[in-house]
């Protein structure tokens, strides 16, 4: 009985702990792809850039909130750059986002001074949380090797909850409605042509800022940054989004989701995705690459959605 409880507790802990970074990535993907209607491949670059910025800042003893802020700013810059290349240089959406993604990934070793940067010592706040987690794990699980992460999970979940609420408020406001309209109306004629560039830039900047913060959280969880860690971030974010949306649409028996429902879909999607990965790994398939697993999940989620909701599944 105790073993089952420990297994389930461990599963929940790992599922939530593994969701901390990717929920922000999925939130960014929701904003860029679903709300702004932009096939934004910048995501992989923003993720790496955020992780790099965070690692460099923490290494330089910058406080945790500022380090997360630095990561966010780098993502905002990447998103704005994509919008600039697309709108002012008139380069196609996909190519402009690929170009910025390549630039973002390529410059990270120059920012960090190396293609990897370990975080053996993190910020005092994270260290305190780690200490509390170890103490709690010992108290709850005895002296074994297992470590749970309740403090860390609570801290980052609270941080993410604030971001989700802020996103909900923003995308339900008139500004947010205009951004969503621009992203999905075939002819967005109710928005002046002069305002469209600014709205697109604001949307991509917000989305990529979130993705970069997701990269920062992953850098913290993985104990550092490496220039290849962003590869597949978009794939994972998209998998979470499609999975969550599909489940929500089936539950609500509707083809379309409101802003709040879309945000909830991200939360549902990241929990189901992380739980799925965790179950596959705990079933002994530890050799399976997470990206390959994500591809299979995405394929399954898209097939499920296109079967139940053929009218609203199209990504582009």
């Amino acid at each position: 009985m105790l073993e089952v409880a420990l297994y389930l507790g461990g599963l929940v802990d790992h599922t939530l702990y593994n969701s901390l970074g990717y929920i922000l990535v999925a939130l960014g993907v929701l904003i860029c792809i679903r709300f702004m209607g932009f096939p934004d491949l910048t995501a992989d670059g923003s993720f790496t850039l955020g992780a790099c910025g965070y690692a460099v800042a923490i290494k330089a003893h910058v406080p945790l909130p500022l380090a997360l802020g630095a990561a966010c700013i780098l993502g905002v810059m990447a998103g704005t750059a994509t919008a600039f290349v697309n709108q002012f240089l008139k380069v196609g959406k996909i190519i402009s986002s690929i170009l910025v993604m390549i630039v973002a990934v390529t410059i990270t070793p120059y920012l960090a001074g190396n293609s990897t940067l370990g975080l053996l010592v993190s910020s005092p706040l994270i260290n305190q949380m780690n200490t509390m987690d170890i103490a709690l794990s010992k108290a709850l699980l005895g002296g074994g090797q297992l470590t749970a992460h309740p403090t860390m999970i609570l801290f980052f979940m609270a941080f993410t909850a604030v971001l989700i609420m802020a996103s909900g408020y923003m995308f339900k406001s008139r500004l947010g409605i205009r951004m969503r309209y621009l992203g999905s109306a075939p002819v967005p004629g109710l928005i002046a042509a002069s305002a469209r560039k600014l709205l697109l830039a604001a949307g991509l900047a917000t989305g990529n800022g979130m993705i970069a913060m997701g990269g920062a959280v992953e850098a913290e969880r993985n104990g550092g940054f490496s220039s290849g860690m962003g590869l597949g971030a978009l794939l994972i974010g998209l998998t979470i989004l499609v999975l969550g949306e599909g489940l929500m649409k089936i539950r609500l028996r509707r083809d379309f989701l409101s802003v709040n429902e879309s945000l909830l879909a991200v939360v549902v999607g990241v929990c189901v995705y992380s739980l799925g990965v965790q179950l596959v790994l705990s079933a002994g398939f530890y050799f399976v690459d997470v990206r390959l697993l994500s591809t299979i999940f995405l394929l399954g989620a898209l097939t499920m959605s296109s079967y139940f909701h053929p009218n609203s599944t199209k990504l582009f």
Partner: protein
């Protein structure tokens, strides 16, 4: 003057065929004026509207627009103005934060007409129904009503009622008439003789006949 067309003509950008689509035209559109473009099929009426909306550049002549004047071009694909993931309420909020009459009540008849047209298809401006879940006819009404809840100086109407039944067509022409009175806007529309009886009779009515070059 809202808009002035000076000796405008157009030919398609083809190397082999540089023939003009229609004979050079000149006219002006004043506030509160309803200008009807008539002519046979292929006379270039839709092409001219696209030139006036800025979608096409004239091959000769020029189009002058009053400073700050806003123009909107509505055609058969008026539902392209809708984003399917938005609700009816959000579609109206795009244009106006709240659909209310201004202090002098000038907009009141327009707002009442917008609400009347929406109710004719079982909707309200504050409905939380997703636009993607509406029927084709409902989408057309919502698209037109939401556009006309905004403020545009020049409306370019190109068979925007093509798929509407006669009752809804009458209601929407009433709406366009109220819009013109409320905002003193100028309207240019493409005429089809069989549907002209619904067109609002108030305001200045001008006819411009177009011919192939």
């Amino acid at each position: 003057m809202l808009l002035a067309v000076e000796n405008v003509a157009y030919s398609y950008p083809s190397v082999l065929n540089r023939e003009l689509v229609f004979k050079p035209l000149s006219f002006t559109l004043r506030p509160g004026e309803l200008l009807c473009l008539s002519g046979r099929n292929g006379a270039g009426k839709s092409t001219l509207l696209k030139i006036l909306s800025g979608e096409l550049t004239p091959t000769q002549g020029r189009v002058l627009t009053a400073e700050g004047a806003t123009t909107i071009y509505l055609n058969q694909t008026i539902t392209d103005f809708l984003a399917e993931g938005l609700t009816v309420r959000e579609q109206f909020r795009l244009v106006n934060d709240r659909l209310v009459a201004n202090s002098d009540g000038r907009l009141a008849p327009l707002i009442v007409q917008i609400q009347h047209v929406l109710s004719s298809v079982g909707l309200r401006e504050d409905s939380d129904t997703f636009l993607g879940e509406l029927s084709g006819g409902q989408k057309q009404i919502v698209a037109l009503a939401s556009v006309l809840s905004g403020r545009f100086d020049v409306l370019l109407l190109d068979e925007f009622q093509a798929h509407m039944d006669s009752l809804v067509r009458k209601l929407t022409w009433d709406l366009v008439g109220k819009y013109m009175s409320a905002h003193n806007s100028g309207i240019i529309f493409v005429d089809h003789a069989d549907k002209i009886e619904d067109i609002p009779k108030d305001g200045i009515m001008t006819n411009v006949y177009m011919e192939r070059a």
